[in-house]
C-alpha cells in the first residue's frame, strides 16, 4: 500500500523517557513509522512493551522526549498543553476500554461532549452531528437512553459514536474490546471494519493478537522498539466470524 495516499501520522525516532526516582525508564527507545489515511492498524505488544506510552504519544496526551511526531502535518512535540487539547478536540477520536461515559447522562449527550468544547458548533449542529454519529454505530433508536440503562456493547457503541462525532483524522481505540464478551467483541470488530471501509483511519491498541487478523496492518512492539511491522494481505471478515460463532445458549 505505497502510496499516493495522505500521511496522517508520522513518527520520526520518537523516544520517551521517564524519570522514576534516580532511574530513567526508557518506555520508547526510538520508534519511527508512517500511517496513511484509511489504514486500520493494530498496535500490539505485551505489557511493558511501551504500547500505552505510544498510545499517549499518538493521542497527543503526551509529548516525546526526543524525535518528532506529525499528526496530519502538525508537529506535536513543541505544542503546549492547551494547543494539544485543541488538537485532540479537532483531530482525534478516543475509544477507551472502560467506555468512559458520563454517568446519568443520555447517549446523545455523551456523544455531544467533544463538540461542547468546540465553539464552532451551535447547539443544533451539535445535536444533529451526535444523532448522525449514533445512527452510524447502529444506536439511532437509543438516543435518549441513559448510560446506566445500556449493555456493555451499547455503551462501547456510544463511545465509538462520541469518537466519530468530531469527524476526526484518526480513531484511536485503546483495548476497545477488552471488557466485552466474545460475541460483542466481534460485533465491535464488525463496526470497526465497517468504519474502515468507509474510509476512517483506525489505530487499535491491543494485547490480543487475534484482532490483528481483521486489520490491514499490524505493528508489534517489544521493549520500546518496533519488533514487526507487517501489512495484512489476508484481512478476515469479522462479520463472517460473527456468523460462525455458536449462538448464545440459554441454560
Amino acid at each position: 500500500m505505497e502510496e499516493d495516499r495522505k500521511v496522517v501520522i508520522e513518527l520520526q525516532d520518537v523516544k520517551r523517557y521517564f524519570k522514576v526516582g534516580s532511574e530513567t525508564v526508557k518506555a520508547l527507545r526510538g520508534v519511527s513509522f508512517k500511517i496513511h489515511e484509511g489504514e486500520f492498524v493494530t498496535i500490539q505488544g505485551t505489557s511493558g512493551s511501551g504500547k500505552s506510552t505510544l498510545l499517549n504519544q499518538l493521542g497527543c496526551l503526551d509529548t516525546p522526549t526526543s524525535g518528532e511526531y506529525f499528526l496530519d502535518g502538525v508537529a506535536v512535540r513543541k505544542m503546549s498543553k492547551n494547543q494539544r487539547a485543541h488538537l485532540r478536540n479537532q483531530k482525534i477520536g478516543f475509544v477507551f476500554q472502560n467506555y468512559n461515559l458520563l454517568a446519568n447522562t443520555t447517549a446523545v449527550e455523551n456523544v455531544e461532549l467533544p463538540l461542547m468544547y468546540n465553539s464552532k458548533y451551535s447547539a443544533r449542529q451539535r445535536r444533529e452531528a451526535a444523532v448522525k454519529a449514533l445512527q452510524a454505530v447502529g444506536l439511532g433508536d437509543r438516543l435518549n437512553h441513559k448510560s446506566n440503562q445500556m449493555s456493555g456493547g451499547q455503551m462501547q457503541r456510544v463511545a465509538i459514536a462520541r469518537a466519530l462525532v468530531n469527524d476526526p483524522t484518526i480513531l484511536l481505540a485503546d483495548e476497545a474490546t477488552g471488557n466485552l464478551d466474545t460475541r460483542t467483541s466481534f460485533e465491535m470488530l464488525v463496526l470497526f471494519q465497517k468504519l474502515h471501509a468507509e474510509g476512517h483511519t483506525i489505530i487499535f491498541v491491543t494485547h490480543n493478537p487475534e484482532i490483528a487478523e481483521y486489520a490491514s496492518r499490524n505493528i508489534n512492539l517489544r521493549d520500546g522498539m518496533i519488533k514487526e511491522d507487517t501489512v495484512n494481505t489476508n484481512i478476515k471478515s469479522a462479520a463472517e466470524a460473527l456468523a460462525a460463532l455458536p449462538l448464545p445458549q440459554d441454560d
Binding site: N82, N98, M116, N166
Partner: protein, 409 residues
C-alpha cells in the same frame, strides 16, 4: 468553548448528582435564610419602634432644665433644675417662626378622689395647646381653653384609666368634680385612649390641667419641669430647635452660642428616632454577622463536597481533557458548578428567609420587613462563596494529568 456551553455542562453535572448537590446547598439555604430572617427581625423592630415614636409626634421637641451633661451620675445643683420659668414660656409663645405649639409641663403625683373611690395618678399641668400638640383627641366634652389657663381655672381633662378607676367603665364623667390633694377639679373632657407605650407605661392614667392651676394650687412652684414644643414639620425640627435655643439664651442672658454654658437642653424626637434607628441598625448588623458565619461554614461545606467530587470524578475529568477540554475550561466548569450550587442555595435561602420572616414576625407582633439590599447582598455573597470556595477544587481539577486521570480507577 463558549460560556453558555460551560454553564450547560456544569448544570448537567450538578443535576447528575442530585443528592450530593442538595446536601451541599443545604448549608447555603440555612445560612442565607438565617441572614434574611435576622435582617428582617432587626429592621422590623426598628420600624415598629419608629412607628410608635412617630405616633407620639415625630416633630416634638422637649426642653429640659439644666445643662445636657450627657450620661453620667453627677448630681446637679437643685437650682440648676429650676431654670425654666414663665418668662421662657411667654417668649417661646410669642413670635413663633418654626415652632407650632408650646406647652410647659408641671407634674404632681398623688391621690385623686371622687365620692367613695380613689386612685393614685399624676396631674400634668399643660397649656391649652397640649392636646393639639400631642395629636390627642378629646373624646367626650371639650378641652380647656386659653382663658382657663389665664384664670388658673380648676378644670381638667382625664384619661380613660382615671375614668374607669373613679367612675366605673363607660360612665360619662364630664361635668363631675374630682379632688386632687383636696383641690377640686371640674372635668371638662375625656381623652381618647392611647393604651400602653412601648416601655409599659399606661398613657391613659393621667389628668391634664392648666399649668397655671397646677403651679399655683397644687405643686406650689414657679418653675417648669420641662417645656414641650412641636415644630411646624419634622423636617423643620432643627430650625425650631435653633429658634428655641436662641430665645432661651436671650432670656437667660447666655452669650455663648456654642451651647456649652446653656442651663437648659433641647432634645428633638427626630434626633431620638435617629439614635434609636442607628442602634437598631447596629443590632441588625450584629445579628446579620452572626448569621453570616453560618454562610462561611456553608462555603467550607461546598468546598469539601467539591473536593470530594473532583476526586470522585477524576476519570470524567480525564475524559473531558482527552476530548479537548483545556485545564482552564475544566477549572471554569468546576467553578461554575460551585457557583450554581451556592446560588441555587441562595435562591432557596431567600425564599426560606422570607417565609420564616413572614410567619414568625407577625407572631411576635412585629412587621415583616426584608430590605431589598439584604436580598441582593446575600445573593452576591453566594456568588462570592461559590468563587472563593470553588477555586481550590477547580484548580485541583485543572491540574490533573489526563493520562493518569483517564486510567484512574
Amino acid at each position: 468553548m463558549n460560556i453558555i456551553n460551560l454553564i450547560k455542562v456544569s448544570i448537567t453535572a450538578v443535576a447528575a448528582n442530585k443528592m450530593r448537590s442538595f446536601l451541599s446547598t443545604l448549608g447555603i439555604i440555612i445560612g442565607v435564610g438565617a441572614v434574611i430572617a435576622m435582617m428582617s427581625i432587626g429592621q422590623g423592630a426598628k420600624q415598629n419602634i419608629r412607628a410608635e415614636l412617630s405616633t407620639m409626634g415625630s416633630n416634638l421637641l422637649t426642653i429640659r432644665p439644666g445643662a445636657d451633661n450627657g450620661p453620667g451620675g453627677v448630681r446637679k445643683d437643685p437650682s440648676a433644675m429650676q431654670t425654666l420659668k414663665l418668662s421662657d414660656y411667654q417668649s417661646l409663645s410669642q413670635n413663633r417662626e418654626f415652632v407650632k405649639y408650646v406647652s410647659p409641663e408641671v407634674m404632681a403625683s398623688g391621690q385623686v378622689v371622687y365620692g367613695n373611690k380613689n386612685a393614685t395618678t399624676t396631674v400634668y399641668g399643660e397649656s391649652e395647646e397640649y392636646p393639639d400638640m400631642k395629636q390627642w383627641k378629646v373624646e367626650q366634652g371639650v378641652a380647656f381653653t386659653q382663658d382657663d389657663v389665664r384664670r388658673s381655672a380648676k378644670v381638667c381633662l382625664v384619661g380613660k384609666t382615671v375614668v374607669d378607676n373613679l367612675f366605673g367603665e363607660g360612665a360619662d364623667p364630664v361635668g363631675k368634680v374630682i379632688r386632687f390633694k383636696s383641690i377640686p377639679l371640674s372635668i371638662v373632657g375625656v381623652l381618647k385612649s392611647k393604651g400602653y407605650n412601648s416601655w409599659g407605661m399606661d398613657q391613659d392614667d393621667v389628668i391634664i390641667a392648666p399649668f397655671t392651676c397646677v403651679m399655683k394650687r397644687i405643686a406650689a412652684q414657679n418653675y417648669f419641669s420641662s417645656i414641650n414644643c412641636s415644630a411646624v414639620s419634622e423636617e423643620l425640627s432643627d430650625a425650631a430647635m435653633k429658634e428655641i435655643q436662641h430665645k432661651l439664651r436671650e432670656n437667660h442672658k447666655i452669650k455663648d452660642a456654642s451651647g456649652d454654658s446653656d442651663d437648659f437642653s433641647v432634645r428633638s424626637m427626630a434626633e431620638m428616632m435617629e439614635a434609636i434607628g442607628s442602634t437598631m441598625d447596629m443590632v441588625t448588623l450584629i445579628l446579620g454577622i452572626a448569621a453570616g458565619f453560618s454562610l462561611l461554614i456553608a462555603g467550607i461545606g461546598i468546598m469539601n463536597i467539591m473536593l470530594v467530587s473532583v476526586t470522585e470524578r477524576t476519570k470524567e475529568i480525564g475524559l473531558r481533557m482527552a476530548v479537548g477540554a483545556t485545564g482552564f475550561v475544566i477549572s471554569v466548569q468546576f467553578l461554575i458548578e460551585a457557583i450554581v450550587i451556592s446560588v441555587t442555595g441562595g435562591i432557596f435561602g431567600v425564599l426560606l428567609g422570607l417565609g420564616a420572616s413572614n410567619t414568625i414576625m407577625p407572631l411576635v407582633g412585629l412587621p415583616s420587613v426584608v430590605p431589598t439590599w439584604a436580598i441582593v447582598l446575600s445573593f452576591c455573597i453566594c456568588v462570592a462563596i461559590g468563587c472563593i470556595f470553588g477555586y481550590l477544587p477547580a484548580r485541583k481539577a485543572a491540574n490533573m494529568d489526563p493520562i493518569e486521570a483517564i486510567r484512574h480507577e
